[in-house]
């Protein structure tokens, strides 16, 4: 158990190092931030001075290691454009993102798990056909299209909900549904497939052969096994959402981490971009780690691996 955890932790560190190095290099390849920051009529000397003040004249590797060293202390650098610490900017946006991610995620699970089980039990019926078709459409429809359709219907036509922005619960509903629909489409299909596989498993036949009640066979013998792949997928979905639902946040003008990242790209604010990417990667790794822990609880076979 301890070895399993240590190995996962080691892997997590490696992943974060690779991601941070990647973003660092790409950030530096996309252009010179000094040209963006300095006023157009600035002299060459002034620019050089600014460059050395920001530490951008040092060798790349040195810059990288100082970035990592600072990051470990919680200092993700300073946004050139916004003149604020990157960590403050992220923390400021984090509640909005968490709120949206959590709502969308819970909504998605509430749709996907019961629906997936229901259509697996009633496979090849009208319900199965309907739900599977809708899920297929939901999975292939782009997020921005779903978001825009929801706005067109509920905000513009019916005038029930605000078009976009951040505020009370009414603002949260449409973006959360947008996120939930796409995620639920994926999870429903997986839940259905997983449940079907488990229902055909030999151990389910054994359970039936023992004369157990149908609900025992379903909830005790099938459900837990069927959840194993769903938990993995759900973990990835959640990690992705916490890292920032870029498109959804942009459509709904939701002040979350995703939009922060999009703006950072436009403004070539690469300390900020690095910070956001590193934050997203950390969230990803952390959630995966939690999923691994959850695995140990669900599936006793995992302890051995």
């Amino acid at each position: 158990m301890l070895r399993f955890l240590l190995r996962r932790l080691f892997m997590a560190v490696i992943v974060l190092l690779v991601v941070s190095f990647g973003t660092f290099i790409i950030g530096h390849l996309t252009g010179d931030p000094v040209e963006l920051m300095a006023p157009e009529n600035a002299t060459r000397e002034a620019k050089d001075e600014l460059r050395s003040y920001l530490g951008l004249d040092r060798p790349l590797l040195v810059q990288y290691f100082s970035f990592i060293g600072n990051a470990l202390r919680g200092d993700l650098g300073f946004s050139f454009v916004q003149q604020t610490a990157v960590s403050d900017l992220i923390l400021e946006r984090l509640p909005a993102t968490l709120q949206l991610a959590a709502t969308g995620f819970v909504l998605s699970l509430l749709i996907a798990v019961p629906l997936g089980i229901f259509i697996a039990l009633n496979r090849n019926t009208v319900w199965d056909f309907l739900a599977t078709s809708v899920a297929m459409i939901g999975q292939s429809a782009p997020n921005f299209w779903i978001g825009l359709m929801l706005i067109a219907l509920f905000a513009v036509q019916l005038r029930l909900l605000p078009v976009s922005g951040y505020g009370g619960i009414s603002y949260l509903i449409l973006p959360a549904i947008t996120i939930a629909l796409q995620s639920a489409a994926r999870l429903t299909r997986l839940m259905r497939a997983s449940m079907l596989e488990v229902l055909n498993a030999d151990y389910v036949r054994t359970a039936r052969a023992k004369g157990l009640r149908q609900k025992t066979v379903l909830w005790v013998h099938s459900f837990r096994n069927a959840m194993i792949p769903v938990v993995t997928m759900a973990g990835l979905e959640l990690a992705e959402l916490i890292g920032g639902a870029f498109i959804t946040e942009t459509i709904f003008a939701w002040p979350g981490v995703g939009r922060l990242a999009v703006n950072a790209v436009y403004q070539r604010d690469f300390p900020l971009l690095q910070g956001v990417v590193l934050f997203a990667a950390t969230a990803f790794v952390l959630i995966n780690f939690l999923v691994d822990l959850l695995y140990v609880v669900i599936d006793p076979r995992v302890k051995l691996s």
């Binding site: 054994t206 004369g211 076979r301």
Partner: protein
């Protein structure tokens, strides 16, 4: 005649698969007295497992259509029972041991729980009682340190140990009929004999009726008084093992016996049956074995031979049997 524990008459099982029909069982009749031990033998695809699964209606009935003139288990018409009544039969009346103990045990539940689930369901034992019984059962099937094993999961045990757990589970309720579907096929040769002896011993002690389903005639010679040979979804021969092994009536039984590995005959002289088993997707209005049979005539190719008495307590479905008249 005493009441049969199992009475099957003209059982048919058909699977519907994407518009195609698979005729797995095409008219099987079989009767078992309480305490009787019967072996059912046949190649894979002969319908032996499917026929036995139908006894407790374990097949997925969204895909499998079961019909029979009679399918009585301990006097109860299985096909007419409602879900609850059926559940009450599974376990106390009929129990199963399946082929692959690893896939047949639930990976996420403890051994103790799986072994005693039936007891808790049918006898209403509480958790503590169940644990004591589980340890007892595991000890009976020869599992060392059962008090540790009850809390473990199936993957922590070896193949032989897992099959012992399956046996403990199947026997927990002392069923009137035990159906063992290829119980040793997935096991190492070295533990097969142990498992067979174990099941045999418990069967004698409890006095339950038992069906061994296998493709291994040599195994049946040791465990079954009576052997039923299946081919193409039908019974082709049903005879006491002493009669069947010394003088088979059906050419297919002969072929099976001849293709069984023997140490006293050089490998080259052993004769496999030529050809392949019939396609279960096809309707057959003839003897299913005719295309592979050296004795086949036009009669065999135009009509289904009925399963008829051939004396010596034997039934065979053949127009030109090797022994027993005609």
């Amino acid at each position: 005649m005493s009441a049969s524990i199992l009475d099957i008459e003209d059982l048919h099982v058909t699977f519907r698969q994407g518009g195609r029909s698979i005729h797995a069982v095409r008219g099987v009749s079989l009767r078992l007295q309480p305490g009787e031990v019967v072996g059912v033998v046949g190649e894979s695809g002969s319908g032996k497992s499917v026929a036995m699964m139908s006894v407790a209606r374990l097949l997925d009935e969204k895909q499998a259509g079961i019909r029979a003139d009679r399918l009585d288990l301990d006097g109860q018409p299985v096909l007419g029972l409602r879900k609850r009544q059926l559940e009450a039969l599974r376990g106390p009346t009929v129990s199963y041991i399946f082929q692959d103990p690893l896939s047949s045990l639930n990976p996420v539940l403890t051994v103790g729980r799986q072994v005693t689930e039936g007891l808790r369901r049918h006898r209403g034992l509480d958790r503590a009682e169940a644990r004591t019984v589980a340890i007892d059962l595991l000890r009976q099937v020869g599992i060392p340190s059962p008090e540790l094993r009850v809390n473990q999961h199936p993957h922590e045990a070896s193949g032989g140990m897992r099959q012992r757990m399956m046996i403990a589970m199947a026997l927990a309720l002392r069923p009137k009929l035990l159906i063992a579907d290829e119980p040793t096929t997935a096991l190492d040769v070295t533990v097969q004999a142990d498992i067979i002896r174990l099941v045999q011993g418990i069967q004698r002690e409890v006095g339950m009726a038992m069906i061994w389903v296998t493709h291994d005639l040599a195994l049946l010679a040791r465990v079954a008084r009576r052997v039923v040979v299946m081919y193409g979804g039908r019974i082709v021969e049903d005879a006491p093992s002493s009669v069947l092994y010394s003088a088979p009536a059906h050419p297919y039984t002969r072929g099976l016996l001849d293709s069984t590995s023997r140490f006293d005959v050089p490998f080259r002289q052993q004769t496999p049956i030529p050809g392949t088993p019939p396609d279960p997707a096809q309707r057959i209005e003839a003897c299913a074995f005719a295309p592979r049979c050296p004795r086949a005539t036009d009669l065999c190719r135009s009509r289904i031979p009925p399963l008829e008495d051939r004396g010596q307590d034997r039934r065979a479905a053949c127009f030109h049997p090797l022994t027993g008249g005609a």
